[in-house]
């Protein structure tokens, strides 16, 4: 059976050159970078080279990059660490309604410590209005965190504009760029942000390697106390091989960004145009233009996401969904609900995410097997029967 992986927002394959760069550090070059001997210093040199490459991907200086274990850790580090370091200044933060759980739940944890979080709304395309952020900022506000691109609906947020507002009010701004970095051009100076999260597994690097960009001279409270790794701001023996992989993946992503983007955008556009044409009552979710080049997201009316995922899986296609049934907590996607989507429609969420290697044949195969799957599930759906009755068929 044909196998088509279209869930690259969850994971990407490790690029062969990335794997090659990593292997020595999983084999013979196992020394601890903090060791004084030359083997240790070689590991340290590899770490610093990776730091420079990661910094270059987002237009930062190497000294501004802190390695972490995941995008979630970077987000926790930024939101909690920056808020807690400024506790004497104020106890208010501003986040958007469509942030990743690692930002939302970090804000919730801070609320238990006496902070107050304002959640700014989004429009029906999932965009934050910078004016809403301006209105939400108070004199006690110490941090604004708005993501650069949403991994569920693909919408790109006006972060540069929001950062401008924050600068004017002397409030720090963090952006969760995990879904964006490595996939679209990201430059911390152009964005004007103080902190930015990125993760290697989003751009053909390994899982378990991520980073937080932190502008020079920005105070942060460490989450992990211990030794002197990462300038004393993130203790723990470094995951050298994974970090080397992050560096190599960043280098490749920066070099191949333009062709990668144009290849994926063309296929994504085809999927976005064709899927609603082949199946009735399918709506695109997220912004139609201001969106990630590799993500096409939809809601299919009258049926539920998990049934679609299982059926697609039986045809060899891997996708994802924001429906309640597909989440462990059995809750519909907070992103879709924040966009004002009806609960029943949000249950029909479906997300396809591409990679440079995705072919036109893959998309054609999806477009071919998709209509009969939907047809079968709709025939089982009481909501579809009701719709047909109301339509008078």
């Amino acid at each position: 059976m044909k196998s088509v992986y279209l869930d690259h927002i969850a994971a990407t394959p490790i690029h062969p050159l990335v794997l090659e760069a990593m292997l020595p550090y999983l084999r013979e070059q196992y020394a601890n970078p903090q060791s004084l001997h030359s083997a240790g210093q070689e590991a340290m040199a590899a770490l610093e080279e990776a730091r420079e490459k990661t910094a270059a991907l987002v237009g930062a200086d190497g000294a501004e990059i802190y390695f972490t274990s995941s995008g979630s850790e970077s987000n926790n580090f930024a939101v909690k660490g920056l808020a807690l370091a400024q506790r004497d200044k104020g106890n208010h933060l501003v986040i958007s309604a469509v942030e990743h759980q690692s930002v939302l739940h970090s804000a919730k944890s801070l609320e238990k410590l006496g902070f107050v979080a304002t959640v700014v709304p989004v429009d029906k395309w999932g965009r934050v209005d910078p004016e809403e952020v301006r209105k939400a900022i108070r004199k006690e506000t110490v941090l604004v965190s708005v993501m650069l691109a949403n991994g569920e609906v693909g919408t790109i947020e006006p972060v540069a504009e929001i950062a401008g507002i924050c600068r004017g009010r002397k409030v720090l701004i963090h952006t969760d760029a995990v879904a964006a970095a490595g996939n679209i051009p990201v430059n911390v100076k152009e964005l004007g942000v103080d902190a930015l999260s990125l993760a290697a597994h989003q751009f053909c690097g390994p899982k378990g390697a991520a980073a937080l960009y932190l502008k020079k001279a920005t105070r942060i409270l460490p989450l992990i106390d211990g030794g002197i790794q990462e300038g004393g701001r993130r203790a723990g023996t470094e995951n050298v091989a994974a970090i080397v992989g992050l560096g190599k993946a960043a280098e490749l992503a920066a070099a191949e960004m333009v062709p990668r983007m144009s290849a994926m955008t063309a296929l994504r556009n085809k999927l976005m145009a064709e899927l609603p044409r082949r199946v009735s009552r399918v709506v695109l979710t997220g912004h139609s233009e201001e969106r990630l080049p590799h993500l096409a997201s939809f809601c299919v009316e009258f049926i539920e996401g998990e049934g679609m995922l299982l059926s697609l899986d039986m045809k060899g296609i891997s996708a994802s969904s924001g429906s309640a049934c597909t989440s462990k907590a059995l809750k519909a996607s907070h992103v879709l609900l924040a966009m004002g989507m009806d609960h029943a429609l949000a249950q029909g969420s479906l997300v396809f995410s591409l990679i440079e290697g995705t072919t036109a044949g893959d998309i054609d195969y999806l477009l071919e097997v998709f209509p009969p799957i939907i047809d079968r599930l709709r025939k089982m759906s009481p909501l579809y029967t009701k719709y047909l009755e109301e339509k008078g068929q």
């Binding site: 049934g307 299982l310 519909a332 609960h343 029943a344 759906s381 009481p382 909501l383 029967t385």
Partner: protein
């Protein structure tokens, strides 16, 4: 795959999908907000379930459960069919993931609702009253989205009942809401937060 082979088999080839046009009883449980909704229509002949058809909006488990219930119940007397429980359906399917045990496992309830509807219609017929054409809804089985204490609905992402002003959490055993921080689940009695 998160499901047993039996669940996948019923999801792939569900038995008795559809709607009986001149049904003797109609039952409906769940709602699209919770993510699962099932409609059962039944035909009764001489106290036995002669035919059952179902429609389900929901996950793979919900579809498999509906199919399994219909298969287990066809040909049974109404009394026998009422003895089918959500638990026995899950067992017959070779088990379900824990977090699906409540929300998606409503097949027996939907069937029972259809039988109750049939019985009500029979009583109405005996009394010479017009028979209601609306399906019988099994309200008390919607706890997945309702507060277990006041039965008020829990909106969207909230794990908080605004009427009772208590924080709720899902019981990892039965999947229903119970008061956050309690030692045991108010629904199934499972002990929570073991030290």
């Amino acid at each position: 795959m998160i499901y047993s082979d039996k669940v996948m088999e019923h999801f792939t080839n569900p038995r008795n999908v559809g709607v009986i046009k001149d049904a003797d009883g109609v039952g409906q449980v769940g709602n699209p907000v919770c993510g699962d909704m099932m409609t059962f229509t039944i035909k009764v002949d001489d106290g036995r379930l002669k035919d059952i058809k179902f429609q389900t909006f929901g996950c793979g488990a919900a579809i498999a459960v509906s199919s399994m219930v219909s298969e287990m119940a066809i040909g049974k007397t109404l009394e026998e069919a009422l003895e089918i429980t959500n638990t026995s359906v899950a067992e017959e399917l070779g088990g379900l993931p824990k977090n699906k045990l409540h929300c998606s496992n409503l097949g027996a309830d939907a069937l029972h609702a259809a039988i109750e509807d049939y019985k009500k219609r029979q009583e109405s017929l005996k009394r010479g009253e017009p028979v209601a054409a609306v399906p019988h809804e099994h309200k008390e089985e919607l706890e997945g989205c309702y507060c277990p204490y006041c039965e008020g609905s829990i909106e969207g992402l909230d794990e908080f009942c605004h009427k009772c002003e208590i924080e709720l959490e899902e019981c990892p055993e039965c999947g229903k809401y119970t008061k956050k921080g309690d030692e045991s689940c108010v629904n199934c009695g499972a002990s929570l937060h073991k030290a």
